[in-house]
């Protein structure tokens, strides 16, 4: 699994950080940031809900 984020699309709604806290966070500009170490995925099942929770499709999960 790979998680990719698109900070150009991000509107800072924070839905990723609310849905899967610990995997996603917001930087000082309130833009999506992946917590280091999670680029290759995680066992946390909540991340699968993040692409739908994001209002602007800024998060994608790629199942390898």
């Amino acid at each position: 699994m790979r998680i990719t984020i698109d900070r150009d699309r991000c509107i800072g709604s924070g839905q990723c950080a609310m849905t899967a806290p610990g995997v996603f966070t917001q930087d000082d500009d309130a833009l999506v940031t992946l917590v280091p170490g999670y680029e290759e995925g995680t066992e946390d099942p909540r991340v699968h809900d993040v692409p739908m929770a994001c209002p602007v499709q800024a998060v994608e999960i790629h199942e390898d």
Partner: protein, 404 residues
């Protein structure tokens, strides 16, 4: 398929919007529009036909689709509310503009509404809510839950966040209500002018004597450095102040009303502090305070086998999307144990509510505290005697007499 095929020839096209009868249920006519098709045709007050989007999945896709415009300044932009008939070129920042201008404005503001910032203000919200409940208890029943509780919570919160003096709240609560609730363009223009003048004066004062707030930050980081001009700062303040006053007040009062009408659901709210955010999401889905979003198609768009043509008016029914049986089982049932994932109570796409994390914090703290500290809280009048706002407005009670 052409646009006329969605209704049988001769069948009258219903008008939109219509008034609710029950404060938290859609008007009966709306529920009849939920068919197999994800959209239907309606007529706006000026006779213009519009597509009403009723399907949850289709509505979400459209709200995220850059082929739909939110440019209120466009001469052909649809008018749903009579008060905005004569828009006089008012380009409201954020809500009334498309990207890239929208993105530029939003990026300036999102740090002030970020998840960390909102978590940090929770203790302040809790003490504010506690103080308001103290006052209600001290005065004793009957109380108007709207003026005693549901309005002061978001009003104080947005004032503090923006750096607007709450001492002036009587003035701007009234002008904000007059602007949004205006029956005519002239009334809306008058309320707009009053509030604009006030905020213009406030920005001038803040330039001379900076304080601590979002507006002060905007002045220091954008106005002084040329990122925004004076008018843009005042207009952003206007949009945030009105949005802060006309939405959460309804969500708190309508949420409290739905809970009081379903006392068994109050137990769910109180049994586990971890359940509060889930209950709030279900209330946002069930009550749909912001009933609809207005857009205009910039290009032809296919939806469920129907073509929305470039230039067509599109109204996205938040209420019906949140009550789509394809997305939620028994959608008309308020079930506090439900996981109301992906509801569109805050909208969807680039215009999704900027203040949603603040609103969530306010709702979670306000509702859990209210029902914890005032057991037995209940309406003091029958449900059908609760006065409610018109169909075009944000949905909620005008006043809500409660006793305990």
């Amino acid at each position: 398929m052409t646009k006329t095929e969605i209704r049988r020839p001769g069948e009258p096209v219903p008008s939109f919007p219509q008034d609710r009868t029950c404060p938290y249920q859609p008007p009966k006519a709306y529920t009849e529009w939920r068919g197999d098709a994800p959209l239907t045709q309606v007529t706006l007050f000026d006779g213009r036909p519009a597509w009403l989007i009723t399907g949850h999945a289709e509505g979400r896709a459209l709200l995220a689709d850059p082929r739909l415009s939110s440019d209120w300044g466009h001469p052909a932009f649809p008018v749903v509310v009579r008060r905005t008939e004569d828009r006089a070129g008012l380009a409201f920042p954020l809500i009334g503009v498309d990207d890239p201008l929208h993105a530029r404005q939003r990026r300036m503001l999102i740090p002030s509404f970020g998840v960390k910032r909102m978590n940090a203000i929770r203790p302040r919200l809790q003490s504010l809510v506690d103080r308001l409940v103290d006052d209600m208890l001290a005065k004793g029943p009957v109380a108007d839950l709207v003026s005693a509780f549901a309005l002061p919570v978001p009003s104080m919160a947005i004032c503090e966040l923006l750096g607007v003096p709450y001492d002036d709240h009587d003035f701007f609560e009234e002008s904000s209500r007059n602007f949004v609730g205006a029956a005519t363009s002239a009334e809306a223009d008058a309320a707009f002018a009053e509030l604009y003048k006030y905020l213009h004066g406030l920005v001038v004062k803040k330039q001379a004597e900076p304080q601590d707030g979002l507006l002060d930050d905007l002045i220091a980081r954008q106005l002084e450095e040329g990122g925004l001009d004076h008018n843009e700062v005042v207009m952003i303040a206007f949009v945030l102040l009105v949005a802060g006053h006309e939405t959460t007040v309804n969500a708190i009062s309508l949420g409290a009303l739905a809970l009081m009408q379903h006392p068994e659901q109050i137990e769910v709210l109180l049994e586990d502090p971890g359940a509060v955010s889930r209950v709030v999401d279900e209330l946002l889905r069930f009550t749909s305070v912001s009933d609809y979003m207005v857009r205009m198609a910039k290009e032809d768009i296919e939806v469920g086998g129907t073509t929305i043509k470039a230039g067509d008016a599109v109204v996205v029914s938040i209420t019906l999307m949140n009550r789509d049986a394809k997305a939620y089982e028994d959608p008309d049932v308020f079930d506090a144990r439900r996981h109301a994932r992906h509801h569109v109570g805050f909208g969807h796409g680039i215009h999704q509510c900027l203040g949603q994390n603040l609103a969530r914090a306010e709702l979670e703290i306000a509702l859990s505290t209210l029902f914890t500290r005032i057991p037995g809280l209940r309406p003091a009048v029958p449900l059908d005697e609760v006065p409610i706002k018109a169909g075009h407005d944000a949905q909620g009670p005008v006043e809500l007499p409660v006793t305990w």
